[in-house]
Amino acid sequence: MPKLKPPVRTPHIDMTPMVDLFSVLLIFLLLTASFRPQEATIITSPNSVSEKQAPDHDIMTIIINKEGKIFFNIDNGKDSTKHTRIDVLTEMGKQYNVKFTPKELNDFGHWASFGMPMADFKKWLNAKDSKEKELLQTGIPTDSVDNQPSQLFFWVRFARLANPNAEVAIKGDGETNYKKVKLVMDLLQENKVNKFNLVTNLEKQEVTLKDIPK
């Protein structure tokens, strides 16, 4: 009997199912993804048990970072034909006598949060790189000058006028001094905003009847 020789074969793995799987995953991720917008500052939100989701649209956010610098952000709203951000900036320009070119206004429409006094606004819009932009972000002033309400006040006011449906969210860093947050809350209340959302991270806490002290 001649020996049966197994035919010499190269090891071969069929990669096709793997490719299929990866394609499905990739498509899924692409469709569900919402990209992180570039934030002007890094915020570590405090934790809470609240499960209410922050709305996607119609929200203006006041960001307070660790050092107490204040940043502002408003979205363009659900209706893409409206240019809320551009309207707000035009109004602000009128208020503080800053003339913006259409290009500058248009650019601003695509940016996310920002935080600088109106005097530096043009410089910020025309800054070439992100490093330069970052240096200009010194926070929106909250002090009133010459009996005039502060700049943040006007930002909130014009944002409210441009988009009356916008909810207000305060996104503060956990380490921020409460004094600063209170200042912002007072300012909001002056603008007749009595309901605000505090942005937090979800952290579950279980409390049952057993926890009641006897």
């Binding site: 048990v49 002056e190 959302n197 505090l198 937090t200 409390v207």
Partner: protein, 210 residues
Amino acid sequence: MAEIIQEEKGKKGGKRRPKKLSTRIDMTPMVDLMCLLITFFMLTTAFSKPKVMLITMPEKNKPEEKTPQIPAWRTLNVLLTDNDVLYYYIGNADPKKPPLPDLIKSDFSKNGIRKVLLEKNKDLFTQITTFRDKRMSGKLVVADTTADQEIKKMKKDDMKGPIVLIKADDKAKYKDIVNIIDEMAICNIASYAIVDIMPVELEMLKTAPK
């Protein structure tokens, strides 16, 4: 790689036959690429949307309405200050009517202020928790909105639970405020408010036990 295509050794002589080419395509680079793309998207996407906590502040500059009378035994004052410490006292602190109540030191841990709040809010907490448990176990079937209304009604009807006044001094951190409001939500406190700290309370904080 997964597939190694062996080169056939050319036979010398004879007719030259067209080489049999394998129709298989090596998919490995494609898999590599996909892996890279997926990793990239995973890292850049924000999966968890931020959560928010809704707070409603009382309207300011409202023409003086009758301030609701709060019985002193229901009032629980929580004073926030730095270093994650908080103090509480029950009743009113009136400089005209000594003696001032003593401050009791507490913290944000499980056995800190939560115990105090749960103890004070026993009835309402039991009521709401049993209601929620009933829904969870399927004994009670109601829509979410109805359940919310029901809980709201329970909170409104509650006459025994504490009324918590949250006061923070200038040293307090933002997270302390969030933590304490969160405690309110955890313990199902019906009524609480963030109010300005009184000068007398600042004095009390100075002499508070460290």
